[in-house]
């Protein structure tokens, strides 16, 4: 019984903490046409499941309540009925068909990376990202910029001091807003995953293969994500930060980057893709 009380205590203390913090209990705000559809689909399915749950378990809990032996219930003898079996086979089937229809449309849209406005090649390494802007001739590497000292050491309250702890990079991927950006994603050593929830993209980079994905940011902003496929010890430390900027800001950024790259004494490191597996 003591355990129960501890438990109740833990629960009770958890609830206000939640309410105060106002944490998201849902997918982060969608920022592309595709992620908007994903958001909608998720809501739809969740409500359908919720409704089924309430109905089905309403029935079950009613039965558990009403047909208890202690209330004097005597067991009935029926144990078969083909009609109800057919009904409860067909109804879920129809519900699923209703869900599948919009989902199909989104899958087709998601997979259609044709006619992009620009293309970025993304190469994943243990543990950093390389971005090649194929149209603008830019190349940059993005690595985690949270200071290493912070990682082992949250403060006395177990809080980390850095606002974007683990979700910040030294070089963000900058893209123009409102443009269809095609990503050609690959990896150089092991499988990684390029995952930015708000942009509706989650695509493995597979060593030796190019896989594509696309997004189109609706509004300027900074969108954060992480590597989504385990890739070794620093898997938790390869964030992705995408900055969507207006066309002018983007152009200015490209110019600035070009200047920076030209000023760099050492030419960008030549990476051999010929040997995709580090042995």
């Amino acid at each position: 019984m003591k355990k129960l009380r501890v438990l109740a205590g833990a629960l009770a203390s958890a609830v206000p903490a939640l309410a105060l913090a106002g944490y998201d209990v849902n997918i982060p705000a969608p920022k592309t046409p595709i992620s908007l559809q994903i958001y909608g689909l998720h809501m739809e399915i969740m409500y359908v499941c919720l409704a089924i749950f309430v109905v089905v378990f309403g029935v079950m809990f009613y039965s558990l309540f009403a047909h208890r032996k202690s209330r004097g219930a005597v067991a009935a003898h029926f144990h078969e009925n083909t009609t109800v079996e057919v009904i409860w086979t067909l109804i879920p089937f129809l519900i699923l068909a209703v869900i599948a229809f919009p989902a199909t449309k989104t899958v087709l849209a998601m997979k259609d990376a044709s006619n992009p406005d620009m293309t970025i090649k993304v190469t994943a390494y243990q543990w950093k990202w390389q971005y090649d802007y194929l149209n603008d001739g830019l190349k940059l590497y993005a690595t985690l910029s949270t200071p290493r000292e912070q990682i082992g050491a949250p403060d006395a309250h177990g809080k980390v001091t850095n606002e974007h702890y683990l979700l910040e990079t030294d070089n963000n991927v900058v893209v123009p807003v409102g443009k269809k950006i095609r990503l050609l994603i690959t990896a150089n050593d092991v499988i990684h995953g390029w995952y930015v929830p708000q942009l509706g993209v989650n695509q493995y980079g597979i060593p030796g293969f190019i896989k594509d994905a696309w997004f189109q940011a609706n509004e300027p902003g900074v969108y954060r994500g992480q590597c989504s496929q385990i890739c070794g010890k620093e898997h938790g430390y390869m964030p992705i930060v995408v900055e969507a900027k207006s066309a002018e800001d983007y152009a200015a950024w490209v110019k600035e980057q070009k200047a920076k790259q030209a000023a760099d004494a050492a030419p960008a490191e030549k990476v051999s893709l010929a040997d995709p597996v580090v042995r």
């Binding site: 029935v59 899958v107 994500g225 995709p276």
Partner: protein
Amino acid sequence: MEASHAHAHDDHHHAPTGLARYFTTTNHKDIGSMYMWFSLIMFFVGGFMALVIRAELFQPGIQIVNPDVFNQLTTIHALVMIFGAVMPAFVGFANWQIPLMVGASDMAFARMNNWSFWLMPPAATLLVGSFLVPGGAAGSGWTLYPPLSIQGGISVDMTILAVHIMGASSIMGSINIITTILNMRAPGMTLMRMPMFVWTWLITAYLLIAVMPVLAGAVTMLLTDRHFGTHFFNAAGGGDPTMFMHIFWFFGHPEVYIMILPAFGIISHIIPTFARKQLFGYSSMVYATASIALLSFIVWGHHMFTVGMPAAGNLFFMYATMLIAVPTGVKVFNWIATMWRGSITFETPMLFAVGFVSLFTIGGFSGLVLAVTPVDITLHNTYYVVAHFHYVLFSGAIFSIMGGAYYWLPKWTGHMYDETLGKLHFWLTAISFNITFFPQHFLGLAGMPRRIPDYAPQFTEFNQISSIGAFLLGFSQLLFLYVVIKCIRGGAKAEAKAWEGAEGLEWTVPSPAPYHTFETPPQFH
């Protein structure tokens, strides 16, 4: 019953005693008990790793284990739980119950049965022992995707060989079970009159024989890629890491149903017993189980929506996966119809069964959410998936195992367990389970990836709740251990038919079931 009369053959006279009895036994009850104990031990070992994981995730930053060890714990936690805890537990039930339920004297191949069991400890030694070798255990996740698993050290080879040995054990065990069911049923027990647990195991054994060799093939290719220069999973030689995923999940998805179909079987015995009413829709239950098994072969791609399959592939796997909800729903509805207008009491097994039906369904629903490709894109490899599979695995498989243990303990030990403690164990488990895993849905929706030792601060609160829940959940299981030991040691004497509403041949033999039962087959009516 003539079950207890002296046995005809001369072989048992000089049966060894002590430890040697268990090393050499050919008795399905001994072997069943060994499986159950092995499973419980592995459950604690795997659970211990989970608790270390949860402790590390209590707050952002690295506190307890370094990222390497964290990945190793995740990997071995999963392998130990799946291959060491859940599967052996179900084989343990099969060993104890199937001969009793179909009226057979023992398993069809009693000696091979013992071999199936005794392959498990060496395999577990390889698996868990791999923490001790240079470089530590495999850290690639239980899915062992190359090229990451190619990079690993000795431990990956140990894991591969452990999988081979466990696979051999599973295949032999399954052949034994199938043969027992098909060939050793008591006269009069036609296929469509078999107890549901027997049916679900028949289908499970079929799945096992179909997919364990495929897993063996996959890890063999991994082994040759690692050491013998092949390029199955290496683009440089024309291979493809994705190929491993396809082969792995061709095994992997049926594997998850291997871990749930016997659970369905157990639940289909508990609910009628405590509702004192015959199972509703027996034949549709059989067909539903078979449909789930058949569909399970064509849905593996839902683990791979983010590898970049063509749209047609994604759509096919999405539709096929969604279809599985239909037969599973039939099962859920039939259970509820069984309860309907029954005469229900809530002994511990029934509590676990009701918990199973409601919580497994939550896991099924989150599975359905994941089945919808676009939604999976945003949830793949986040904690939403972790929440999904712990709902189906813990409040699914493990709940049924515990419920089944309470249900049959009287038959196995001859004593009733302590009902008050049993109920307490259920409530502690059910509540702390939800505290542990429900918040993980929110973490996943918010985008927290799985298999990370450290996370961004906005995920802190839910992780803390989850960690607290995990410790409660873990320590509640010590109560289970206590109840089981107490029940073996003593307690109220169990009747042959320990539960008022119980049906089936196993309740016709005394409790505890004598060492040899049904040496001449009973007539089944």
